[in-house]
């Protein structure tokens, strides 16, 4: 289905795409922030490598 003029359907579709885009962007920012907080936590430690795997 195609419309030559802007139809209310286009507006609804744009609002959906814009809303979803903003939600995804916010989610990425949140995951980044959570990662920084969790990695920066004192309780966080890198997994120890096996002695045979070093060097």
């Amino acid at each position: 289905m195609s419309f030559s003029k802007i139809h209310s359907l286009h507006k609804r579709r744009f609002s959906r795409n814009l809303g979803l885009g903003l939600v995804l962007a916010a989610f990425v920012a949140l995951i980044f922030g959570l990662t920084v907080v969790k990695v920066g936590n004192d309780n966080f430690s890198m997994p120890q490598a096996q002695s045979g795997e070093t060097q």
Partner: protein, 316 residues
């Protein structure tokens, strides 16, 4: 009435075009979500110990998404009821803007997303509690109890009472008596809140075939039940003032709001239908509106007790 008879009678009016973002957001029941967000927030900040603000924010967000997901699943399952009731027939599914299958897909996806993300952000016990909350609201309340028994709202009210418990567990990783008290406060508040709504929505539940107390036992027993549950709620709410989540501020708030609430329940009990119809159910509507402030005031007081400086909050 069986689900099948209800489901075959649905003739949702269809509208051309696609749904907008707001329609999908409406599936998450944003007004109910405010209660979930607020009570979960209070559970989180009333908990002992410190939680990083961003982790706390994420926990509240994922609890809210989980609550919204269960709302979408409720709208999928109850589309036939929503299409009949005046209060709900403009929702996206009965109005034809979103299909029931889309609501189900959104609800299932967001449920899994919220539980997994809450687990990653906080701990497995909080995630398990959130999963159980969604299960309880969708399966136990919506699919099972709602169409079966007039006690639907009494038992089903537990679903709305879990958020402060999830908030507490997200902060601490364990359960304690305090979140159980917050759970019980919402659990006991739910029946009078919804029965008042059922009184002034009049024929809505009857036409939808939902066995609310007003439909199965009549309006007089409903008025009696509101008074009895309000008395029990008041006793519990005042008793909570002397526990770990209470204190002088909470006691003052609880005393004021429970006096008003008891007065409202007493007025509803004394009235008959003729008197209620004469003033357009003014007392019942006032009681319903007061019940919203009642819950926010009690949880606001619990939050205040938890955040006041040492020596000011609690009893010592």
């Amino acid at each position: 009435m069986s689900d099948a008879t209800l489901n075959t009678s649905v003739q949702a009016p269809s509208q051309p075009g696609e749904a907008g973002f707001a329609d999908y957001f409406a599936l998450l029941k944003p007004r109910v979500m405010t209660l979930v967000v607020f009570t979960a927030f209070v559970g989180l900040i009333a908990a002992p110990g410190a939680i990083h603000p961003l982790i706390g924010f994420a926990a509240i967000l994922f609890i809210a998404v989980g609550g919204g997901a269960s709302g979408a699943l409720n709208m999928w399952w109850d589309a036939d009821i929503d299409a009949v009731m005046n209060r709900t027939r403009r929702r996206p599914v009965p109005a034809g803007r979103v299909t029931a299958e889309e609501a189900k897909a959104l609800g299932l996806t967001l449920s899994a997303f919220a539980v997994v993300m809450l687990w990653l952000a906080t701990n497995v016990l909080a995630a398990a509690l959130l999963a159980f909350t969604i299960f309880f609201y969708v399966v136990v309340y919506s699919m099972w109890l709602k169409r079966l028994t007039p006690q639907n709202i009494v038992i089903g009210g537990a679903a709305g009472a879990f958020p402060p418990m999830v908030g507490w567990v997200a902060a601490t990783g364990s359960l304690a008596m305090e979140p159980v008290l917050m759970f019980t406060l919402i659990f006991m508040w739910t029946p009078p809140h919804f029965w008042a709504l059922a009184l002034f929505m009049k024929s809505d539940y009857h036409e939808a075939g939902v066995p609310m107390l007003t439909v199965t036992h009549g309006r007089r027993p409903t008025r009696v039940h509101i008074l009895v549950y309000t008395v029990l709620l008041a006793l519990f709410a005042l008793g909570t003032a002397f526990t770990g989540v209470g204190g002088p501020v909470y006691l003052a708030v609880a005393a004021a709001f429970n006096a008003l609430f008891l007065q409202g329940a007493w007025t509803i009990w004394r009235r008959d239908e003729a008197a209620a119809q004469a003033d357009g159910y003014a007392c019942e509507k006032r009681f319903f509106k007061l019940s919203l402030f009642y819950l926010f005031a009690h949880f606001g007081a619990i939050a205040l007790e938890a955040t006041l400086p040492a020596g000011w909050g609690g009893w010592g």
